[in-house]
């Protein structure tokens, strides 16, 4: 420790002081013992050190002022260069900050719930065709059984989700999402109840709480409490509470919640079944200190009490933490979910852009070194040591970076709303405007300034004064200088992003334009769930068929793209094997004809065969391959509920998105659970028919919004994430190229300035304009080409991995990578072209007149 003081060259910390310390240490040691002496010396050193620090600080504050002053003078003198440098940094930082807000927004889902660490959702984990498979809905009797069976559980609540549920308010009908919930949900989740009482709001039958949004939509400024809303045709509910917008984002989103006891008379709740479910979710609040793993392990015993071993199979009840739900991708989940991978992709892209901006910064500053050699020389001669010079240049770069951060925050504030719309999110700048975060941003900008400024500062401060005055040029133009590496890295990242953009776009186009396997552009479906037409569908069909523009119509339980499906396990009769899970398609006789499906074997359903009503099945090709039949006609399948003979095989068509493989399907005639009517329209009469459909709909279901289900729209909806990803990538690629080119322009300008005399001499000696342009451009183009060579294989492998998530995927052709590299080369040419062409038109006499 004494050595430390010795090595320090502060004015009063020198040999005599150390001597004093030693002497007094000995004295105290002999008087009061070594320990007291040791304590004393440590105290002295700490005090002295603090004093030293504070002195140092005041000293450096004074120096800092001088550094900042010279920095500002320098910025003024080199306006263009400073502007380019700043623009690059600002753009890079703003892009990065926007992406950071996006990521933060996603990570914050459900974090506002006060008891979030103890809240879990129950889900079912099982194995399907050898693969792990999980789903979110759970059976209705589970909640009371859990409450009774496990003292570890504090509270349990179910949410029965109903989408597009009709709300009758003063004769008008609104279709909104509704949750039927157990009253304890208000004690589990944190819902800001504006009016109404948490304990009683949802305990009575036919009580309802609505969001403040709905309240103002339904009643304007009037008090909604006590008003009557008609739900689900004829059931009257009283508004007992209003809840405001939640303080954060949640995976749950609803317009209203109604007490579950109001549904007690429905067959589902009267005799709740352990084996079937709809959109029902179970949430639990654990007592503090309970381990979810330990609890989860005990669930199986409970389940076995209620369900036979055979039905249970591989099913397991599991707990899922509330804050994980947003990132989970469970089947049949209605939660607002998001993909962790795309979040990581966004983060990487943001980091890339920031890196490019920093590289730019380093490059531009390094390029200016030769212009500042004299300054360094003078400073050194005047007695500046290397540390001081280092500090000065670091101050300069940090100042630039802090200015950039300030501008970046302003820009982010203005750009956030459009960015929010693009990403289909409701993001706000508010969480960013906390002092802590601003301080963090400030810290980050200082760090960026230091990191990006370190290399140029080291180079600058290391210049020998003699060399500076003798005007020895910077010799760092060699092939592997840091500058070259950074330019190559910048363009490699840019080219990578271009390839990524094109690939995502290509995959999206591929999914949109790949044949769905049915004639989606000539058919329209109407969803009749929760409308008065439900139950009168036959009449509807007859009415519609009377129109000459409607070629055929079919009633069915589900249609492609609707997301509704039933999965059942089918036994193959006559074969000893496990049951095969297959999707069921329930419809009337006209389904195949209306959708325009192709039969590859056997025949369509026909009313002419009496057995077709309840003993005929049509399977798709995938089902045929799955079972392993070469000639399926006449074979029998049995699911317990449904049994029949295979009479035909339909060509595979896409029932849901192309993210998934086509599933094995079994179609049968069933007119009891009809949700949709699909209509085949004469191609010349589409607008006519649409008008007719709307009129008919409004006649039968007045007040219910007419929302036809266009198949391409429905399928396009599956690919929204890809659309957003394309936008994000193309924007980032654009920015990356922009920043890289800014840097390149500045570099080119610098090189031209350095070689001006050379150009003059070459011109005098008869060099052609073309030759000169080539001379000045070839280096830059070479770098971009090298970048392309590096980026293409990397992009190819990474994007191929990304594509492997899709069941039906496009390829990445070579031309796509060539095109990307070519684009980068062209843009780079344009960027440096202005500089070089200008240079080749100089008059040699003007430049060489001084020689």
């Amino acid at each position: 420790m004494l050595k430390f003081f010795h090595s320090s060259r502060r004015h009063w910390l020198h040999s005599p002081v150390i001597g004093d310390l030693r002497e007094e240490y000995r004295l105290i040691a002999s008087e009061k013992g070594r320990r007291v002496a040791m304590k004393w010396i440590v105290r002295q050193i700490v005090i002295t050190f603090l004093r030293l620090l504070s002195q140092n600080f005041i000293w450096s504050l004074e120096m800092l002022k001088s550094y900042i002053k010279t920095a500002i003078r320098n910025f003024r003198r080199q306006r263009t260069y400073t502007l380019i440098n700043l623009t690059g940094l600002i753009v890079g930082m703003a892009a990065c900050l926007l992406i950071a807000i996006y990521i933060q927004d996603d990570l914050n889902y459900d974090h506002f719930h006060v008891k979030k660490d103890r809240i879990y959702r129950i889900y079912i984990q099982t194995i399907q065709s050898g693969q792990p498979w999980a789903m979110a809905p759970t059976m209705l009797p589970l909640a009371p059984a859990l409450k009774e069976g496990f003292p570890e559980i504090d509270k349990v609540a179910r949410i029965l989700q109903k989408n597009h549920f009709p709300f009758g308010v003063d004769g008008e009908i609104f279709k909104e999402r509704l949750y039927f919930v157990d009253p304890d949900i208000l004690n589990i989740l944190t819902l800001p109840l504006i009016s109404g009482d948490i304990e009683s709001a949802l305990s009575k039958p036919n009580s309802l709480i609505i969001t403040s949004n709905m309240a103002s939509r339904f009643y304007g400024d009037e008090n909604p409490i006590g008003r009557i809303i008609e739900l689900d045709r004829g059931n009257l509910y009283t508004v007992t509470g209003v809840f405001g917008a939640s303080p954060g984002k949640s995976h749950l989103r609803t317009a209203a919640m109604a007490s579950i006891v109001s549904q007690m008379d429905t067959p589902r709740l009267k005799n709740p079944s352990w084996s079937s479910f709809q959109n029902d979710y179970t949430y639990v609040l654990l007592k503090s200190g309970v381990s979810p793993e330990a609890l989860q392990a005990k669930f199986q015993a409970l389940w076995k009490e209620h369900i036979t071993e055979e039905d249970l199979g591989d099913d397991e009840l599991r707990l899922q933490s509330l804050t994980d739900i947003h990132f989970s991708q469970l089947n049949y989940d209605n939660a607002q979910t998001s993909n962790r991978n795309s979040l990581i992709a966004a983060g990487v892209v943001g980091f890339f852009i920031l890196a490019i901006a920093c590289f730019n910064f380093i490059n531009l500053t390094t390029a200016r070194i030769s212009g500042r050699m004299k300054e360094v020389g003078v400073r050194k001669v005047a007695g500046a040591d290397r540390g001081q010079l280092l500090r000065q240049y670091l101050t300069e770069s940090t100042l630039l970076s802090i200015i950039a951060m300030g501008a970046c925050i302003l820009i982010t504030c203005t750009l956030l709303p459009p960015f929010s719309r693009m990403m289909n999110r409701n993001m706000s700048i508010d969480p960013m405007l906390k002092p802590g975060i601003l301080l963090l941003l400030f810290g980050i900008s200082v760090l960026i300034g230091l990191l990006a400024g370190l290399y140029p500062a080291l180079r600058l401060s290391g210049i020998q004064p003699m060399a500076a005055f003798r005007n020895i040029r910077d010799r760092h133009g060699s092939a592997f200088s840091l500058r070259t590496v950074l330019v190559v890295a910048q363009f490699a990242i840019s080219i990578f992003l271009i390839i990524a953009t094109l690939t995502v776009q290509r995959q999206r186009q591929f999914m949109l334009h790949r044949s769905l396997g049915f004639e989606h552009d000539q058919i329209i479906a109407l969803n009749m769930q929760n409308s008065p037409i439900y139950g009168r569908t036959d009449a509807m069909k007859t009415t519609l068929l009377s129109h000459p523009g409607i070629l055929s119509a079919s009633l069915s339980h589900s249609v492609p793209g609707s997301g509704i499906s039933i999965t059942s396990g089918f036994h193959v009769i006559g074969e000893e094997r496990d049951e095969i899970p297959m999707n069921e398609g329930l419809s009337d006789f006209d389904f195949v004809e209306t959708l325009g499906l192709t039969m590859v074997a056997g025949r369509d359903f026909s009313e002419d065969y009496a057995t077709d009503f309840d003993d005929a099945l049509i399977i798709n090709e995938t089902a045929m391959q799955h079972i392993g039949w070469s000639d399926p006609l006449g074979r029998r399948l049995d699911s317990g509920d449904k049994a029949g003979q295979v009479i035909g095989v339909v060509k595979d068509f896409h029932f849901s998105s192309m993210h998934e493989k086509i599933r094995p399907m079994v179609f049968s005639v069933n007119t009891e659970s009809i949700n949709f009517i699909t209509i085949r329209i004469h191609p010349q009469q589409i607008s006519n028919v649409l008008k007719f459909l709307e009129e008919t709909w409004n006649d039968i279901a007045p007040g219910y919004p007419f929302r036809p289900h266009f198949f391409d729209e429905q399928f396009e909806r599956y690919y929204r994430q890809e659309a957003r990803l394309t936008q994000l990538f193309s924007l980032s690629a654009g920015l990356a190229i922009l920043i890289s080119c800014l840097g390149m322009i500045a570099l080119a300008a610098h090189v031209v300035a350095q070689r001006l005399k050379e150009i003059g001499i070459r011109k005098v000696l008869g060099a052609s304009i073309y030759g000169l342009i080539r001379l000045l451009t070839v280096d830059f183009i070479k770098w971009v080409v090298i970048a392309g060579i590096i980026a293409s294989p990397a992009a190819y492998f990474i994007m191929r991995r990304w594509l492997s998530n899709y069941a039906y995927r496009t390829s990445i052709p070579i031309w796509l990578m060539l095109l990307s590299a070519l684009m980068a080369v062209l843009i780079a040419c344009l960027a440096i072209g202005t500089q070089t062409i200008k240079a080749t038109f100089i008059q040699p006499a003007q430049i060489l007149k001084d020689e």
Binding site: W12, P16, D20, R22, E24, R26
Partner: protein, 106 residues
């Protein structure tokens, strides 16, 4: 005439009292004992160097000794200017004290 603070007054008087034996450690100990508070090393050297720059004290390096690990002592001495400053300071103090009537203390 140079104005001095009471901290500087204390140090100058300390150096004077110690005579030929005034260096870092002895000054620190003496001043600490008299004032009853622990003066840090910085609190001694900093003002002393300031006083030296202003010409109120002078210093020189004495020979190194073994007990100090071979390091020399920096001996301090109050210059004539310093003594003048002290006297002037005392004069001001005395007249200030004298101008306070006895009743003020009651």
């Amino acid at each position: 005439m140079q104005q001095i603070t009471s901290q500087e007054e204390t140090l100058l008087l300390g150096v004077l009292a110690l005579g030929d034996n005034a260096y870092g450690m002895t000054i620190r100990r003496h001043v600490s004992k008299v004032t009853g508070k622990d003066w840090s090393i910085g609190a001694i050297y900093d003002p002393l160097y300031r006083l030296e720059r202003r010409g109120l004290v002078s210093s020189f390096l004495a020979d190194p000794t073994a007990e100090r690990g071979g390091r020399s002592k920096r001996m301090f001495r109050v210059t004539d200017v310093g003594k003048e400053a002290l006297k002037a300071h005392k004069l001001i103090r005395d007249s200030l004290w004298g101008s306070v009537p006895d009743v003020a203390w009651k």
